[in-house]
């Protein structure tokens, strides 16, 4: 394997991925912690405040100038739900020295800057600069309000929210407007200080890097300040039995209706999640899928129709953009596809096609730096380490009986419809 992992301190790991496929080096630092209503908004706000300044570079302008000097190195941060946990992600991408007009050490410069942004923020009067926190509070508010801008994403987000009401996974990853106002700069900084000493930390370095950089990272002053930690991450809750299908309809100014179905798979055994991937592919991934063939090609009801499988939650989201008057018809056809799957009404060819599609996704993991990092990070979180080859062979071994067995465990939980 080309991924070497070392534990620098308890709870803090460095993963070095050697690859010669790219012109760039990609550095990433992920902070993971349990997803709760109390902390979700603060985490989102922290990610935003940290990019405003470091102890050495007091403003975003200075950080940006520095990145531009590094041949347009890019810094990015984001926030994601990883099952019932929350991960704050920071990235820095810089050109590998082989492709620069002159020698520079962009790798180390980049790593120092990235760690500074995360662990050595600009502090005034024992707290984050108030102006930065206030500004970012306003910005975060706008991001949360902007949830409605993409109707497709909004409908999916709303379906998940309804499906996991009062559960960690139902929380919105950017938090809540009503919680933003209450947060003060002092409080946020105090929370941050505790958070960085308690969260799980994963550092990734991907690129054509000949030397081992473990020592450089260990010696970094920011890493030295971090203490060993016991991890408190949440284990993903199992799905509960569906009693009634929940139906939610919302209206907004839209020309096209957005239909989303939340399906849950109950009582999945560990090895079965690979089967879930095949089930979902036959159902709703790509042009050969049942949903695409029947909802779009046979009935011309939709331009987009497909499904996604969120393994960590054993959740499948079916989505279709349809004419509003066709809601009933579309639901009927979607339900028919679920029944067909249950009744084994799919061929060996369908299984073979799905395997081909999944295998090529697996072969593509190493073709994008952030995909490869996400792959190893997913394994790190689920504590399930398999090589790409093992992953391939697990997929190849799956039989029709297994897929049909999974199909019988799939239940419609929530139907969400966004209309005019």
């Amino acid at each position: 394997m080309n991924n070497e992992t070392v534990e620098i301190k308890k709870g803090i790991k460095l993963h070095q991925i050697q690859t010669n496929k790219f012109k760039t080096n990609l550095l990433a630092v992920f902070l993971s912690l349990p997803l709760t209503k109390e902390t979700v908004t603060k985490n989102a706000l922290i990610a935003a405040v940290l990019r405003r300044g470091t102890a050495k570079m007091h403003s975003q302008e200075m950080i940006s100038q520095n990145l531009e000097e590094m041949y347009g190195a890019t810094f990015d941060c984001g926030i994601e739900k990883t099952g019932d946990n929350h991960t704050i992600k920071f990235y820095l991408e810089a050109i590998n020295d082989q492709f620069l007009p002159e020698k520079e050490d962009l790798l180390r410069r980049g790593m120092d800057l990235l760690l500074d942004i995360i662990f050595n923020p600009y502090i005034e009067k024992e707290m984050f600069k108030e102006e930065y926190v206030e500004g970012e509070k306003q910005n975060l508010k706008q991001i949360i309000e902007g949830k409605i801008d993409s109707k497709d994403r909004y409908a999916i987000e709303r379906c998940v929210e309804e499906m996991y009401k009062d559960k960690p996974y139902g929380l919105y990853k950017f938090g809540y407007i009503e919680d933003i106002e209450k947060i003060t700069s002092k409080e946020l900084y105090d929370y941050y200080k505790t958070m960085i000493q308690e969260c799980k930390i994963d550092i990734f370095v991907s690129g054509d890097i000949k030397e081992n950089i473990t020592q450089d990272i260990e010696k970094n002053e920011n890493i030295q300040k971090l203490i060993e930690r016991e991890l408190k991450l949440l284990k993903d809750e199992d799905n509960t039995e569906v009693l009634d299908v929940k139906k939610v309809t919302e209206s907004m100014q839209v020309t096209q209706g957005k239909l989303v179905l939340g399906l849950q798979i109950n009582g999945v055994e560990k090895e079965e999640s690979y089967v879930g991937t095949i089930y979902n592919t036959i159902l709703g991934v790509g042009a050969n899928s049942k949903l695409f063939q029947n909802v779009r090609e046979k009935e011309s009801l939709a331009y987009t129709c497909g499904s996604n499988y969120i393994k960590r939650k054993q959740l499948i989201l079916v989505r279709a953009g349809i004419e509003i008057k066709n809601e009933e018809k579309a639901l009927e056809i979607i339900q028919k596809q679920l029944d067909d799957m249950k009744n084994g009404d799919f061929s060996e060819e369908d299984i073979g096609n799905s395997k081909n599609l999944i295998l090529s996704t697996i072969d593509n993991i190493t073709e994008e730096q952030d995909t490869e990092i996400s792959y190893y990070f997913g394994q790190e979180l689920s504590n399930n380490f398999i090589s790409v080859e093992e992953y391939r062979s697990k997929i190849q071994d799956i039989t029709k009986e297994q897929v049909q067995k999974i199909a019988s465990k799939v239940k419609v939980d929530t139907i969400y419809f966004l209309r005019d």
């Binding site: 012109k23 590094m70 987009t304 953009g321 599609l357 090529s360």
Partner: protein
């Protein structure tokens, strides 16, 4: 085969013009599992009026026909759909239509040659029937509806309406529900036979290939066709240089107004690559991440992230677009114009050098992905550009030249704004 090498980024390009007039471009990449192929024809939404090379007949077609044709190319006489066949092979296949070209592509880690068989077969063997053409109208109508709900698309279409009174670029790529209603199979065959001739097409491959071998594989799969003369395309008379109208707005359900500030260029024959590089530097200097203006607007809460920049050009159009979301679009426009005026008096040379370095990094990063590489070479080809030129000409863009381009394009009289407001 002609070989062009870029020493700076360590990549090679092989080009061959085949006897039937088709161009093949090969960019070998050894360290990758993926293989990418894209086959494009020089036929897009702006090509709605032309003269058939064989008969001399002048034809005007309904809006959206290039895109409609793209959808229908996958249909096979066997009843199979080629997209399904390709997906079944485990390759990622797609097609898209732009203003000036239509492309068919796939990306494979396995089964590359089986997929190449299918791609080259379906692009060379259309199968249109009254029935399958009718059926597609429902699907495309849903696609048009989807764009109707997309604030970004509305913003862009209205901006084009501001920039030009009459220009083929204003035509919606998918057409309208009404215009596609007029499309039938004879029309599709007519367009196909005219524009899908090898002499109007280019095929680009990128991945772990031996150039001679892959070239032969491509040749083996080509159907012989009689030579065809040049297709004469007719575009609306190039109008006076004035913009159509300075402002347009629409209401949609969004959280915050979206704005697009545009400047119309003169569209002169000149060194396009050099100008493009200069334009990227200028736009970043005006409102990029480290600019004074962006910092100010960010602190005032008027911009959440730097606006995105576009510079589009072809034979018939040239414009700059600055797009973003803000509670106060008018203020953004005023500030941008003020910044432009300030820069016309003088530019900070350090700032210029810094952004120039950044732009170099951006160009190098584009070579990270084989799909980006292949698509870039294809779309640049239809503009008469070799993509390597961006890296090669980079050093010729100096401070003086950037000032000259700034003077030329950023003229208040040629400035428009399109806004989508919160309902």
């Amino acid at each position: 085969m002609e070989l062009i090498e870029s020493l700076k980024i360590k990549e090679k390009l092989y080009i061959e013009k085949l006897k039937n007039g088709m161009t093949v471009m090969i960019i070998p990449k050894e360290n990758t599992n993926k293989k990418y192929v894209i086959w494009g024809t020089h036929f897009g939404s702006i090509d709605n009026h032309f003269i058939l090379p064989e008969t001399g007949e002048e034809v005007v077609v309904p809006d959206g026909v290039a895109h409609f044709l793209e959808h229908k190319m996958f249909e096979q006489s066997s009843g199979r759909n080629s997209l399904d066949t390709l997906m079944a092979l485990g390759v990622e296949a797609n097609a898209y239509t732009t203003n000036n070209h239509t492309s068919y592509l796939f990306e494979a880690t396995n089964n590359f040659y089986e997929a190449l068989d299918e791609l080259m077969d379906y692009v060379q063997n259309p199968y249109f029937t009254d029935e399958n053409v009718e059926k597609e109208k429902g699907i495309i109508a849903q696609e048009i509806n989807m764009y109707d709900d997309d604030p970004g698309w509305q913003l862009y279409m209205n901006a084009l309406d501001c920039l030009y009174k009459e220009n083929a670029i204003k035509i919606d790529i998918a057409g309208t529900v009404e215009s596609i209603g007029k499309i039938d199979k004879d029309l599709l065959y007519k367009c196909y036979n005219t524009f899908y001739h090898p002499s109007n097409m280019v095929l680009v491959v990128c991945g772990d290939f031996k150039p001679e071998e892959i070239l032969q594989e491509i040749k083996n799969r080509l159907v012989e066709k009689p030579m065809q003369g040049e297709i004469k395309r007719i575009y609306p008379e190039s109008e006076e240089e004035e913009i159509n109208k300075p402002y347009m707005e629409a209401d949609m359900e969004i959280s915050k107004p979206a704005f697009l500030i545009g400047f119309r260029g003169k569209n002169e024959e000149e060194d396009k690559v050099k100008k493009h590089i200069a334009m990227e530097i200028i736009l970043d200097m005006i409102a990029g991440k480290s600019s004074k203006l962006y910092q100010k607007l960010y602190e005032e809460g008027l911009l959440l992230s730097p606006p995105s920049f576009d510079y589009e050009f072809d034979k018939n159009y040239e414009f700059v677009m600055i797009t973003g979301q803000s509670s106060d679009p008018e203020k953004i426009k005023k500030e941008i114009l003020a910044q432009v005026e300030e820069y016309k008096k003088g530019i900070d040379e350090k700032h210029f050098e810094r952004i120039k370095k950044k732009v170099y990094g951006d160009y190098v990063t584009e070579y990270n992905s084989i799909s980006d590489i292949a698509r870039m070479f294809l779309s640049d080809y239809f503009k008469g550009i070799n993509s390597f030129d961006y890296i090669e000409q980079y050093n010729t863009v100096n401070f003086e030249y950037v000032k000259q381009v700034l003077e030329e394009i950023f003229d208040e009289k040629k400035c428009i704004m399109s806004v989508v407001r919160k309902k």
